[in-house]
């Protein structure tokens, strides 16, 4: 179930939530971001910080759908910082520096026809977060952690 909190992952802390991102489902892509947005709004996070976090999360979700057959997203908020962790078991990013270059994309034409694959995903995530780390191993997957300070 895309965007819904992972049943096994539901935590007791109010400020941490996990979402499953379905692979290959462009109809549902963005549901984790939407759920996170609602959560942050309910916590009284300022709109500009929510917008930045939502952009980061959406781009991450789309990347997981396009490249990694889905994955998991976790959001934590400690009152000052929104931390998003997106983990997948996809092919990995061989050259993160290259992938961070605007316009660089390995998406297919079919993906581009949907309006994605402009090579702006990772650059948008970098620009809208205060910190971003990419931990990727070829053939094993990628974990991206982003923080947005409120």
């Amino acid at each position: 179930m895309t965007g819904a909190p992972a049943p096994e992952g539901r935590r007791s802390e109010a400020l941490k939530e996990r979402y499953i991102v379905d692979g290959d489902d462009f109809q549902a892509a963005g549901s984790a971001s939407s759920a996170m947005k609602k959560l942050l709004r309910s916590l009284g996070v300022p709109p500009e910080a929510i917008r930045r976090a939502a952009i980061c999360m959406y781009e991450g979700e789309i990347n997981m759908v396009i490249h990694a057959n889905g994955g998991e997203a976790e959001v934590a908020f400690d009152g000052e910082t929104i931390t998003m962790t997106l983990a997948d078991s996809g092919p990995g990013i061989p050259d993160p520096e290259l992938a961070l270059r605007e316009g660089w994309s390995t998406a297919t034409d079919a993906i581009r026809d949907l309006g994605f694959g402009a090579g702006m995903g990772l650059p948008n995530m970098k620009r809208n977060s205060d910190e971003m780390t990419i931990d990727s191993t070829a053939g094993q997957g990628t974990t991206i952690t982003m923080t947005v300070r409120v």
């Binding site: 462009f26 939407s34 939502a54 789309i62 309006g115 994605f116 702006m120 809208n128």
Partner: protein, 111 residues
């Protein structure tokens, strides 16, 4: 200028959008069909002119806090887009005019 008055001034067809969403102030705009590009650059409370008509348009518009989407060139929304935009109360407007003309007219209307 509100979404409603923009629609009236430019004779845009309102496909969906509740009264509260249509009364939102528009303060700028953006043109584009590449979703990540729009996501990264469209201003908050802006009007977004596009010919992209799939469901992901609603996701981007909602997440980037866009005030309304204008589908140019007479492009109609896919059924899932219309449904999601209506569900999330994102005004979806439509015009037979090309994006270039629309952008010029909207730019002038917002000045």
């Amino acid at each position: 200028m509100t979404v409603q008055s923009l629609a009236e001034t430019l004779k845009l067809t309102v496909l969906c959008g509740g009264a509260d969403a249509l009364s939102r102030e528009v303060t700028g705009g953006y043109c584009g069909d590449l979703l990540s590009w729009v996501m990264g650059r469209a201003p908050q409370n802006g009007v977004w002119i596009t010919i992209m008509s799939n469901i992901n348009v609603a996701a981007v518009a909602g997440l980037a806090d866009i005030a309304c989407v204008v589908l140019a060139e007479g492009v109609g929304p896919d059924a899932p887009l219309l449904e999601r935009a209506a569900g999330e109360n994102i005004p979806l407007l439509q015009s037979p005019e090309p994006a270039f003309t629309l952008a010029g007219r909207i730019f002038n209307a917002l000045r």
